[in-house]
Symmetry: C2
Subunit: 290 residues, 2 copies
C-alpha cells in the first residue's frame, strides 16, 4: 500500500502555497512533517484529505485517485486545528459519530486514553479548556483504524505530562495495529525518537525527505580554527556558519561526503533533528543550495 | 501600582475551577504563569480582564475594583486564544481598531515586528495559517502600552525561529517601556530566562508564587545510595523519588533547609524550572504537602 502525492500545487489568493510537491507515503510508517510557519504543511494535509482542492497534481492511494473517492477517503483520517464536531457535542457522542463513519474504531482504547488523561466522557467540547479540547480530538484520532492518520499539530496547548502521555499512546496503538501516522509539529526534539521518516517543507516545497537515521548521520557541526574549518568543508553543503573570535562552527548537511579524516584541531558534533531543521530553514540562509 | 487578586473563586458547571486565588502582581515585572492543562490559568486571566465573572472574590488595581470599571480595564490587555477580531479584518485594521481603544499604541513597533515576521499588513486574518494568526495577535499585544499585559499561550503554533523572535521583541519593548507581562505557557524552558517571577497553579489553586531565582536555588535533585538519600532528605519536602537499583534520586523543593553538609557519596544537581514544575505538579504526587 502506498499513498502517492504527485506534482501537487496550490495557488491561494494569488500566492503559491504549494509548488510541485511529490511524495510517497509508505504503509505502517511514522512520519514527521516539519516546516516553518506558513511552509504549506496544513495545506498539504488538507488537500490529501479532500478538505481543500489542489490547483494541479493528484493524490493516489494504490493508484486510485483519492479526490472525492469515498472508498479511499475512508482509509484516511485528519486531525487538524479545525474542530469538525459541533461545540455542544459530548465526548461520548464524538466517539459514536466517528465509529459510525470509520470501521474498526477502537472504543476500548479510546476509553483507556480518557481515563489516563482524566477526561469525562460526558463533558461537552465547549466546556473544555484549549488543551483538553486537543486531547479529546487526539483520542478520537488514535482510536481510528485508518491506514493513514494525519495529525496536524497534535500537541498544541498540551502540557509536558500530557504530551509525553500522547507519545506513549501513539506508540502503543502503532505497535498493536501498525498503520501510517504523519505528524506535523514544531516541537521537534520531542518526536525525534518516534518518527522513522522525516519530510521537511519550506516555502511550499518539499526540500528533504529521508529517514530520521540518515538525517541524524549526515547532519553535523564542525568546530575549530576558522581557516581549518573553511578548508575542511569546502566540498560539502554548509547550511550555516558561526564565528566567534578565530573559531568557527560550520553546520554541514552531508557529512558522508566529507571524505578526508578529521584534522586533530577540529571537533565534529552530530546535530539533533531540531537544530538540523533550524539551520536548514533559516531565513536568508543557504537553503536554496540543497 | 499593584494589581491585587483577592480570594477569587469560580464555579463552572458544578466544578470548582478556581479556589480562593490570592495574588499580588507588581508593576514593571515579567511573570510566568505555569500550570497543567485545566489548572485554571485561562479562567484566572479571563476574570482579571473582565471576560468572565468570578463566583467570589475581587480584582483591584491600586485599590479600585476592576470589574466593569472602564478606567481600570483600559490599563489591562489580554491576548488569548479567542480571537476577538472578525476573521475578514485585515492586519492594518486590527492595528487601527486597537489604537482607537488603547492610548499609546506603538504603530512603529508593530510595523517593525510585521517586517521581522514577514507578515503583510494587508492580509486578512482568515487567510493566515494558525501560526501566523498567533503572530498577528502577538504583535498587537506587544505594541499596546497598557500597564498589565496578559499573554495566554502566546507561542501556540509558532515555529522555533518565530518563538525566539517573539521573546526578543518582548524584551525589547519591556526595556523601552517597562510594564508588567504575565505569560502563560507550556514551553517553560524557553521562557525561564525571561521571567522574574513564577506563579504555579494546580487544580484551581496557586500552589507557589516566588521569584525565578528563589525557585532555581531551592529546587534540587539529590542522587546517591538510596539509604543515604532517604536519611539526608528526611527533614525537607520531597516532590518525587526515583530509584534505579540501589540508587535513588530525590527531587527536593526547599534545598535551603537541607542544613547538614552534603555527604561525599551524594550528588546535588540544581533543577531547571521545567523539571521543577513537572515534579511539583505530577499526578498522584506529593504536591498536597506543599
Amino acid at each position: 500500500m502506498t499513498l502517492t502525492i504527485a506534482n501537487l500545487s496550490k495557488v491561494y489568493s494569488r500566492k503559491q502555497v504549494l509548488s510541485n510537491v511529490t511524495l510517497e507515503l509508505k504503509a505502517e510508517t511514522i512520519y514527521g512533517l516539519l516546516g516553518r510557519n506558513g511552509a504549506g504543511k496544513s495545506t498539504l494535509l488538507n488537500i490529501i484529505n479532500n478538505r481543500s482542492i489542489a490547483t494541479a497534481g493528484a493524490v493516489e492511494l494504490d493508484s486510485m485517485r483519492v479526490y472525492e473517492n469515498e472508498t479511499c477517503l475512508n482509509r484516511l483520517y485528519l486531525m487538524s486545528e479545525d474542530t469538525l464536531f459541533p461545540s455542544q457535542m459530548k465526548i461520548k457522542q464524538m466517539f459514536k459519530q466517528t465509529a459510525a463513519f470509520y470501521d474498526g474504531f477502537d472504543e476500548n482504547f479510546a476509553k483507556k486514553m480518557l481515563t489516563a488523561f482524566g477526561l469525562d466522557a460526558n463533558s461537552s467540547l465547549r466546556k473544555l479548556s484549549t488543551g483538553y479540547r486537543s486531547i479529546a480530538k487526539l483520542i478520537v484520532a488514535l482510536a481510528v483504524d485508518c491506514d493513514y492518520i494525519f495529525l496536524d499539530e497534535p500537541v498544541l496547548g498540551l502540557d509536558a505530562h500530557h504530551r509525553e502521555l500522547f507519545y506513549q499512546f501513539l506508540l502503543e496503538t502503532y505497535q498493536q495495529k501498525p498503520r501510517t501516522f504523519v505528524i506535523s509539529t514544531h516541537l521537534i526534539d520531542e518526536i525525534t525518537y518516534l518518527i522513522e521518516e522525516v519530510i521537511i517543507m519550506n516555502e511550499g516545497e518539499v526540500i528533504q525527505a529521508a529517514s530520521t537515521e540518515e538525517i541524524l548521520q549526515t547532519g553535523v557541526a564542525i568546530t575549530g580554527p576558522s581557516e581549518l574549518v573553511e578548508a575542511f568543508v569546502v566540498l560539502v553543503k554548509v547550511l550555516d556558519k558561526e564565528t566567534f573570535g578565530g573559531t568557527m562552527t560550520a553546520y554541514v548537511t552531508d557529512a558522508d561526503k566529507l571524505g578526508a579524516e578529521l584534522p586533530e584541531q577540529l571537533r565534529l558534533t552530530p546535530l539533533n533533528l531540531q537544530t538540523y531543521f533550524i539551520k536548514l530553514t533559516k531565513e536568508g540562509g543557504q537553503t536554496d543550495e540543497i
